[in-house]
């Protein structure tokens, strides 16, 4: 069926345009979706997609489904020897643009941690990939607050790039705080020397292009501010004198980091959204596997919400940490 106007979420076939290593273990993946019948629907910062980390056979690549073979699929030696996961893998959208009429480019940055991401890393440009999405909710954009701090750790940085772009478009000034264990693990292109004292500067190409100054922190001091990204953020809150009511914080990264970000913001009365990660079975709100404890007025004081369809970002003060 052909959708006119607003295209629905769905399963799309994408071609790999770029899949290049950007630093140790991290890859930049650009996917082109060009479907003659349906456009990839509008997407927003904060949303993610589910990638099938498996060779596309014609039945699964995301083509419109046509009449089907009834013989079992024939697997290549590569498929049999390199384990390919059954379930899809959730990855945040780092950006999205229309590159020519009818083609949408999605940008993803991923770190190789296991079977699925290792399989992704082996993809050559031109390869076909099945994309399910877009999933989850957009970050709440507060046009009444002039400044936004984006705090990203590791592979939590990509959604912050998409957020920076959206905030700039809405005339909100984004400032990015990006942390990594060491300079080799920072998935950004560094221009010039990031301030070791933690002052924001136009030091990364990706955030500069999206209108954001950046603070880089590394745990070992190999680049920028030595220490945790949370320390740099706290120091900036003190030094910059920005009133709590003028600022909103978005963060994505390791849970230990986001917890501290949440605590800092709650202490100071800063509005704060944390984008959580959960193991996901479906990403579409059906399997109930991705639960997050969210405070409410019930007797036990919380109830389970789904990271995939109610989140992935939640207001910091509502999250019950385990």
């Amino acid at each position: 069926m052909c959708d006119h106007g607003q295209s629905k979420r769905g399963v799309f076939s994408a071609a790999v345009a770029v899949n290049e290593q950007i630093c140790e273990d991290h890859f930049l993946l650009r996917l082109h979706i060009c479907d003659p019948v349906r456009k990839f629907p509008p997407s927003s910062a904060g949303q993610f997609v589910q990638l099938r980390c498996k060779s596309a056979d014609s039945r699964e690549a995301g083509h419109l489904v046509e009449a089907t073979a009834t013989t079992p699929p024939q697997f290549s030696l590569d498929e049999l020897t390199n384990h390919q996961p059954l379930l899809r893998r959730p990855l945040s959208l780092g950006g999205r643009r229309e590159i020519d009429p009818g083609t949408t480019e999605l940008e993803i940055i991923y770190r190789v941690v296991g079977t699925g991401t290792r399989w992704l890393a082996g993809l050559k440009s031109g390869a076909e990939l099945s994309v399910l999405g877009p999933l989850g909710n957009a970050f709440a954009i507060r046009t009444d607050k002039p400044k936004a701090a984006l705090i990203g750790g590791g592979v939590g940085i990509p959604p912050m790039l998409y957020a920076a772009e959206t905030l700039s478009e809405n005339n909100i000034e984004p400032i990015a705080f990006c942390g990594a264990q060491t300079s080799q693990l920072l998935p950004l292109t560094v221009d010039g020397a990031p301030d070791t004292g933690g002052a924001p500067s136009l030091c990364t190409r990706e955030f500069t292009e999206r209108g954001a100054k950046t603070v880089i922190t590394t745990d070992d001091g190999s680049l920028g501010f030595r220490g945790f990204v949370t320390q740099a953020f706290q120091q900036w809150c003190d030094d910059s004198g920005v009133a709590a009511g003028q600022l909103v914080v978005y963060s994505c990264g390791p849970e230990v980091m986001m917890r501290i970000v949440g605590d800092i913001c709650i202490d100071r009365g800063i509005e704060c959204y944390l984008s959580l990660e959960r193991h996901m079975g479906c990403g579409m709100g059906t399997c109930q596997s991705c639960v997050v404890k969210i405070r409410d007025n019930s007797e036990q004081g919380w109830s389970y919400k789904l990271c995939c369809s109610d989140g992935p970002a939640f207001p910091a003060e509502l999250i019950v940490w385990e």
């Binding site: 489904v65 009449a67 089907t68 399910l132 479906c282 059906t286 399997c287 596997s289």
Partner: protein, 322 residues
């Protein structure tokens, strides 16, 4: 494969996929497996749910259940384990909020019900008698993930007969489907017990109790310690159990089987039909790509056309065995 008698595509469309499950006419054998498709239209953006023959809901209990702690799923090669813990909104919210959406879908609906006591099952079954769109209830007496509930009813033939008979008393309009556990030494014994208790149809299999261990922490990965294995990994077990129950219980008693367990491709679905299943439920595969519904339907049609069969009923239980 030999396809000398290949029909034209117009012919393929005219192949009759309709089946009858205990008096309920279905347009085709495909249904959703409980717990893998939400309550109603969660997949509507991804696939036209009108392609289904029937919709089977998530397990509904009298009171809402928040379910087990996180993590609730873990993937394994060719499958996944889940320990959701029958998280559901409860009977009242199901009726007030979820049913209207189901109504709009215009499909026969089977509501899967779960309980801790016999009275729980009866209360849900009774409440569903007044609702037109609901055509049957599926008794989940086989969920392996709930401590105080389910499984005890499901493993002991006399308990199966007793609960089936008790619910049968309150189902007048609705058909009674009993969903069998594979976690028994002889599934034909529990199947026979369900038939003796008055079951109108049998569905099988539920998940196989399984465990995954984190070798770093030397602890179980799932918060519930054990989970139910589903997906392609269990298909051969499920096909065998359908075959046994069909030949020894269902065929002699003249009642239909809804087969499930790892159906992913049309070829898998056809195995179940040949083994004796009249209905086919899709579970884990929906998480990967909800469009498998359409694909499997088309594949069954093609299989029938290639063999000059005009109806799916021609292959149900057609397994050749000496």
């Amino acid at each position: 494969m030999e396809t000398t008698n290949k029909r034209q595509s117009g012919d393929i469309e005219s192949i009759d996929l309709s089946v009858n499950i205990a008096g309920v006419e279905l347009d085709n054998p495909l249904m959703t497996a409980s717990g893998t498709c939400g309550y109603s239209d969660e997949y509507a953006d991804f696939v036209d749910l009108g392609e289904l023959g029937a919709f089977v809901t998530k397990s509904i209990s009298v009171a809402p259940r928040s379910g087990n702690e996180y993590p609730r799923i873990v993937e394994t090669r060719a499958g996944m384990m889940n320990a959701i813990g029958l998280a559901n909104v409860g009977l009242d919210v199901f009726i007030s909020e979820k049913l209207p959406k189901l109504q709009a879908m215009n499909l026969p609906v089977f509501v899967n019900i779960a309980g801790v006591t016999q009275a729980d099952y009866i209360q849900v079954a009774e409440a569903l008698e007044d609702i037109d769109i609901v055509r049957g209830v599926e008794l989940n007496i086989s969920c392996p993930n709930v401590k105080a509930g389910g499984i005890q009813f499901g493993v002991d033939p006399s308990a199966v007969e007793k609960i089936t008979a008790a619910v049968k008393k309150v189902t007048r309009k609705n058909k009674l489907i009993v969903k069998l556990s594979p976690n028994v030494s002889d599934i034909t014994a529990t199947a026979q017990a369900a038939v003796n208790g008055g079951a109108d149809a049998l569905s099988l299999i539920n998940t196989l109790t399984a465990m995954a261990i984190d070798i770093d922490t030397q602890r179980p990965i799932l918060a519930n310690k054990t989970g139910g294995l589903s997906g392609p990994a269990i298909r051969p077990v499920a096909v065998y159990m359908v075959h046994r129950v069909y030949t020894q219980v269902a065929k002699p008693a003249g009642i239909p089987i809804i087969g499930m367990g790892g159906i992913q491709y049309a070829s898998d679905a056809i195995e179940f039909l040949l083994a004796g299943a009249t209905g086919l439920a899709l579970g884990t595969s929906l998480f990967v790509d909800p469009r498998c519904i359409v694909e499997i339907k088309n594949g069954i049609r093609k299989y029938l056309a290639d063999r000059d069969k005009s109806s799916v009923q021609d292959i149900i239980g057609a397994l050749q065995i000496d």
